[in-house]
Symmetry: D3
Subunit: 137 residues, 6 copies
């Protein structure tokens, strides 16, 4: 149970009710996810958050849907957010990544988390000449 009382669908009115409907339709769901029901306490925040998610994730840009979902998953894994890690693990599977792909995402995260701290810890300076990738080319 979240630490605040969520606004359930049947209790939603006005703008919150409209946004709940939009979320369900846009995402093809027959329920409103808990995250949005917790945001439902603050209609202006719910609306702005949903719009920002849609502006970044729901539009065609330079990155395809799988790549954006992988970034979202990487961020969620880094932050230890069980909620979003769960959602985006399902999402990247939905976009075609299998268990080997997921393991590869975690492997890249492993490698750079390690190297990042080595470099910041020892204050390693940026090289004068550019190079492309800590490893692959």
């Amino acid at each position: 149970m979240a630490s605040v009382e969520m606004i359930e669908e049947e209790a939603a009115t006005g703008k919150v009710k409209e946004i709940y409907a939009d979320i369900k339709e846009s995402l093809g769901l027959d329920f409103v996810p808990n995250m949005y029901k917790a945001m439902g306490r603050n209609p202006a925040y719910l609306e702005a958050s949903w719009n920002k998610v849609q502006a970044v994730m729901g539009r065609t840009g330079k990155l395809d849907d799988l790549t954006k979902a992988i970034i979202a998953l990487t961020v969620s894994m880094m932050n230890g957010s069980a909620y979003c890690t769960h959602v985006y693990t399902d999402a990247v599977r939905n976009y075609g990544l299998d268990d080997d792909g997921l393991t590869e995402v975690a492997a890249v995260i492993d490698v750079y988390n390690g190297l990042n701290r080595f470099n910041t810890g020892l204050d390693v300076e940026t090289d004068e000449k550019p190079w492309y990738g800590c490893g692959a080319q």
Copy 2:
């Protein structure tokens, strides 16, 4: 200047010298990056780190090179590692991402960093039914 004295190329001998040569050839560089020169103080660690980077980044797997570089960049941005952020900003450009693409990576990071903390902060529970993506479908 790093907080430890790096092993410069001309001072490298034995295994360190061999790995430096492999790094330059594999990455198509005429210099050894500072990160590896700092690792050069510990030959076994240098070798194992370089091999792990190659095993994850230098092989063909489920993810293409751009996607892996984007994950590496995301991790580096999350950790605030100036060194690796610099290298992988150059790397993703090298793989074809332009300024709009880079901004889009940062936008996805922005969105999920925010939502992650909302959900962990208020202890929002995982939904009983799966759904695919906090936003897009």
Copy 3:
């Protein structure tokens, strides 16, 4: 210099130009902050980000402006974001907090950062009975 080319005011057109004007008017500024000029590369993202900031920070809610600014400053100090720490250090001063108040914010952050890690590190369990505040009452 940001790692992407920002959209300067004189280069802004359409929706970006409108939002830049709204930002300047709403914030009482004669320039567009760099953060928004970097977002300017992605008009939908710029608009959604600005709207979300306004929905949370620019409206009257349960928390007053100083309290919200203190939370924003705390988050920025925790993340090591020099940009936002700078902006919100100025902001809380603007809302009336002096050097002693700023030091007090940092002191509270010091205390709980420490205690947080002690508790998570040793896996200390939540008490069966509630209590109010790790210290004060």
Copy 4:
């Protein structure tokens, strides 16, 4: 169960027993919280930690009790400390914040966590002229 054996009240002697009594009296509790019972293994550390908490949280300074509790909650949410998040969620309620207020705290954390990473990720530079608040004025 914590990963170290806590010093229970009935086992406490000397300085630990005295500090336990002071904690209970100062906080108006009929039990010693687990955090302090884990610290009880190290009397000098228990004493210094309790004194530091009191020095920062238990005295009248520039910030009122609710504001300090909100900062403590924000820090605990950022660190993902379940123990302190639980204590300070109760604490801010005790000082008068309701579910809408708690949601607003989480909303501000959401916004700035996102913006922080955008700015550090893209290395956005501090503006030459000051401005007050990323959003509100």
Copy 5:
């Protein structure tokens, strides 16, 4: 259950089977830890990870085994990794640290986590003259 299907010992073949055998023998175990069974999906990554762990932890260097285990435990506590915190809490006990020693590790983590944020939060500058240790001498 991990979010990817682990490669169980009886399903392992080729290089994965060999590394599993090496892990069990090197660590004196009659089972393969879950971490390595999850890595088993990607044989090159498993091999490189195991080799890097051995290169850093399994060799005689400047730091003794207990000190290296304490660093590993500190890192795991900082990252909130339940898996590695569990393993290294057992490990440091195995190397001779008792409950008082573990509490002392957590106490040092508490102190510097706090001071770190105070200094970064208020942008305290490095002193012109060197000094040795924030406290002890």
Copy 6:
């Protein structure tokens, strides 16, 4: 320059002046470090912080001075605190660790930062049977 005006030695009076003197004598310094001069704005906090540092770092416990300094350095590297990383890099050198030792500290941090995220990211479960160390034995 710190974001708050520090209390310089010549401006210190009363309790702050006494603690400054104690710091200099205890640490064998002819100056007061900036960290403590920033804390000087809040005498009760300065006193409690200094006492807590002394209680943890300045007493004989289960861990020797070098080990405690290594933990402090590890925490500071993890948090990206330039101030404390600088101080504790000097401190561990003072206690006898050379460049190879420092590189080894950073190598262990690299390894476990990586493995931590792999395990939390893929939600790898704690093993039913104990084992001692992710690598060495």
